[in-house]
Symmetry: C2
Amino acid sequence: MQNFNFCSPTYFEFGKNTENKAAELVKKFKGSKILLHYGTASIKKSGLYDRVISSLKSGGIDFVELGGVQANPIDTLVYEGIELCRKENVDFILAVGGGSVIDSSKAIAAGTMYNGDFWDFYSGKYIETALPVGTILTIAAAGSEGSCNSVITKVDGKLKRGATGEVIRPVFSILNPELTQTLPPYHTAAGATDIIVHILERYFTNTQEVEVTDRICEGLLKTMFNQTPRVIENPNDYEARANIMWAGMVAHNNICGVGREQDWASHGMEHELSAFYGAIHGAGLAVINPAWMKFVSRKNPDKFKQFAKWVWGVTDIKEAIENYTAFLKRIGMPSSIKEFGAKEEDIPLLAKHIGLTEEHTFGSYVKLNIHDVEEIYRLAL
Amino acid sequence: MQNFNFCSPTYFEFGKNTENKAAELVKKFKGSKILLHYGTASIKKSGLYDRVISSLKSGGIDFVELGGVQANPIDTLVYEGIELCRKENVDFILAVGGGSVIDSSKAIAAGTMYNGDFWDFYSGKYIETALPVGTILTIAAAGSEGSCNSVITKVDGKLKRGATGEVIRPVFSILNPELTQTLPPYHTAAGATDIIVHILERYFTNTQEVEVTDRICEGLLKTMFNQTPRVIENPNDYEARANIMWAGMVAHNNICGVGREQDWASHGMEHELSAFYGAIHGAGLAVINPAWMKFVSRKNPDKFKQFAKWVWGVTDIKEAIENYTAFLKRIGMPSSIKEFGAKEEDIPLLAKHIGLTEEHTFGSYVKLNIHDVEEIYRLAL
């Protein structure tokens, strides 16, 4: 096991009706003038918007609003949010939505406190200061509700990039599984896939002697493989939604990733599918991650033997990957990048756009150069 | 799953040589005048004491000392610590030791800020304010390094009681597995047993539909059953020590206990063995917990079926409990309360001392009255 540090201070309020505590929690974390940041019409349609507004008003909390966050949130709205926060002297951001809304909120929170261009943080600069962010989560997926990360897409150049900083971890997150019951099955399944791949990006490692985190990963994977089909069959299954929602947080606050090298090549390859074709992140991962497995398991089978045995109860690596692929198909995920509109001739451009060369690689379980990545995209056709 | 809230803000610094960061972390968490609280001669013998003093001195941190904490820490030393902290205007407590030292530090931290008798907190009053506590952990066992609990024994009356408060969660904990390599095998095994029972107290629940936390519990249990024999055979096995040390924190910061009813009857029964016979807590649990299992599995077999299947890979509950008992024997734990000096005729007094009657029960997986508890003690003879 490697040396590490870990700190996950977010306060989680989990369960039915917990969105009614929004005002109370904003006050607890010293918010007085807040930006209410959200996405499209869905929170208005579901009534969540009205309940949150009502909670804020009855709590006497002053707020301004910025809606319009889309899946794969974009830099232009972040700039708008930063300007609004500065103009209105906002001291707290309340994100009501999924990972996209939370990531957009984190970017605004960091950008408001920064003199330069917020995109610096998405070009490698560590975030040192930010406004506090609270969340009301509406989809179990990104794990952004408990993480110190944010992913934003720069419209100009189709760059989908991540930023990191302990200060952008939400100070509180309200997790009510009921709020996820109105999601379309495709989005539910894509969210579940994102959770699963967050675990797998940590699970596949060359670091030896990490049984404690291995076992947590395997437990979370089994939970996801058992519970996800339940919510696809019955979207109102509260208990399955609850198990998935908590798994989504645990999958990405890094409790299952400490002390070990992590991979993240699948995320890197997927980001290009979102940037070029607007693929829903989890759906992109559902295609890329099994293709990655097929490729890297031939080069480095070690951890795949354990994956086969402890997650799927089989001895054959190929069978384990097939089980995983069948699971993804069963929950309605795509199996080819063609379904997003990608063509074989796009592949060199996709691989090049990541920024890899023959020498410059990414991933760590198996280091991938530009040719490896092209082959993985081809396996995903 | 039940509604819950969860917040575990402790900063963990994990790995080799991390105790050298003591001064840096004390400063980060605003300590200027600290109480260095520790146990007996072992940290002086191992050289840890000198390294910590050196770190504090080179960091320019002013400190006073209070040693002498014993296993099952006592109220009289807590009173002494409170007086010292007040006299010396201490603003931070650094606990160097195991759960006993940390629990004693938490009691002093709460008592210093309280106008009444600190024992009020161990009689049911919730702790609202306390000095910040940091820890350098020397045994993987109690999980106090990441928990909001403390257990103290009142010498007068042999009362071993717990207190709770979010404010007594350590602000930082330094976890260096090397520091646990000098522990005698009996203490190592008792610590491992404590960790295992922390998981089991949460695992055995009547709350349905909690797969995510079940699986985390099962993963941690398997880790403990695999790794503990390694350190009994080779005390210098760093990797096994590291896995156990992190499992010990995860087992008790409640990440595996959220959203579910928990039991804690085994801990309640063990506390009497510590109070009356000075049993090492984990060793007491090694006797009581299997006896509890034998008794309650007859009355409520449901979760035991899952325990048998998912933890031990067997279908027979009796076989699973026998496997568990054999594991405890293999790591050198006692199997009868007689080994602590208890006699059959003591049993009514032990049961009565818990404060139970025919109507007043404790535990939740199976509610136990005074007669049930007597029978469990007899099963533990």
